[in-house]
């Protein structure tokens, strides 16, 4: 089942203004993505961990998610050190492990973890409906925000529809295997989901028209910077500037 695991708004970060969180997460992610030195990246990773603690996320789910995306990183560790050209560190059979390859893999590992942990702490802890309205306030075009909100609204409905169809085909003795029958069954199932969503969209639009839709979704969330936001703002700015300065010091 699709669900939002990380929401728990008794924690500090989760009570900050969502606009502030989005802007900071974006700036921080890009800053970290452009760093090259391991010292800066390790500092960034520690800062991300701190944010995670302040966000009070569910650690069991977090561990699962971290495992999932670090398994991708592991693949890079298997390929990059032997495919990079550079100074040789070790020889394993026909392969040469290069210094540059190892450094680059370490860089990617630290970067991706630092960015993802900050993303989980700041963004994944926010309900998508709130993110949508906050994005609108941040001058993202209304149409794309509407698509985001509608997709979020119907993703759960359509998942239930999908579960229903899966139950139906299982009841009829369907066992997925590597054969044409399986691919055909899944293709028809998807086709059915698409047709039903188009019909549903038609009804949704009619309902929206009935309620006087004029190209705007109104939000009950009042976005206003509160005291905690004003306290946090200088810390956030300092974090990014501090990291940039650290990167610059390490470079020279």
């Amino acid at each position: 089942m699709i669900s939002e695991f990380f929401i728990n708004d008794t924690f500090f970060i989760q009570r900050l203004d969502p606009r502030l969180r989005i802007v900071f997460a974006t700036a921080y992610s890009f800053a970290v993505a452009l760093f090259a030195h391991l010292q800066t990246l390790i500092t960034a990773l520690l800062i991300s961990c701190m944010m995670l603690v302040m966000a009070g996320v569910n650690f069991r789910v977090l561990a699962k998610r971290l495992l999932a995306f670090n398994s991708l990183v592991l693949l890079l560790w298997l390929v990059l050190p032997i495919t990079f050209s550079g100074e040789a560190l070790y020889y394993i059979g026909p392969f040469t492990i290069t210094r540059e390859g190892v450094l680059f893999s370490a860089q990617i590992t630290l970067k991706s973890n630092a960015i993802m942990l900050a993303f989980i702490a700041l963004i994944a802890t926010t309900p998508v409906s709130v993110i949508g309205h906050a994005l609108e306030k941040l001058f993202i075009p209304q149409k794309i925000v509407h698509i985001l909100l509608l997709t979020y609204r119907y993703v759960f409905v359509i998942e239930q529809e999908y579960q229903r169809l899966i139950r139906a085909i299982k009841t009829r003795g369907f066992i997925p295997k590597t054969n044409i029958h399986t691919y055909k069954t899944y293709a028809y199932l998807m086709g059915m989901i698409f047709i039903r969503s188009v019909d549903r969209a038609q009804r949704v639009y009619q309902a929206m028209i009935c309620r006087g839709f004029e190209g705007k979704f109104h939000s009950m969330d009042l976005f206003a910077l509160k005291r905690q936001d004003y306290i946090c703002l200088p810390f956030m700015t300092t974090t990014i500037i501090g990291l940039e300065v650290l990167e610059w010091i390490v470079t020279i």
Binding site: T83, K143, Y205
Partner: protein
Amino acid sequence: MHISEGVLSGSVLISGFALTAVGTAVGLKKLDYEHIAQVGVLSASFFVASLIHVPIGPSNVHLILNGIVGLLLGWGAFPAILVALSLQAVLFQFGGITSLGINTLIMAVPAVMCYYLFGSIIRNRPKWIGFTAFACGFTAVFLGAVLAGAALIFTEENFLTVSALIIVAHIPVMIIEGIVTVFCVGFLSKVRPEMLSAFYEKESRW
């Protein structure tokens, strides 16, 4: 076909965002408010369909479906994929903020290209529909893998081997996507043929 956070260089990330912004702007311009609901709900259904894991030998793959997305939505594929990837990031943490632009580009450009390359043949030549649909599903994934490889090579020339590996590793996915696209398009052409053209193309309602 998803490039993780922290892999690509700044210039690649920024150009990814710039090009995705252009594509999304074109897509949104073509969509009236009455199409917004359709793109939203269809985007949700692509999101769910891409969660299906299709068995292949001892392992399984999940489908990318950007060929079908292109056929059904045309330029609307850009906003639909952008939104689906954002939701994927927020709900499952597959990817984050910085790689959103380039990952949208990697999937949406092949979708739009497939729409122009194969759309009219699929609508107008019922005899060729099977072959064309296979080509559509296959090409969409192939182009996506090529774009992902290109993004990596622009970041760091040493990624050449990795890029080649990505394309080779996606060959089974391309074939399965092709097969699934044949059946899915065949099904839609029998049940709801008018769905096989981007809905901003004509005024008649579904």
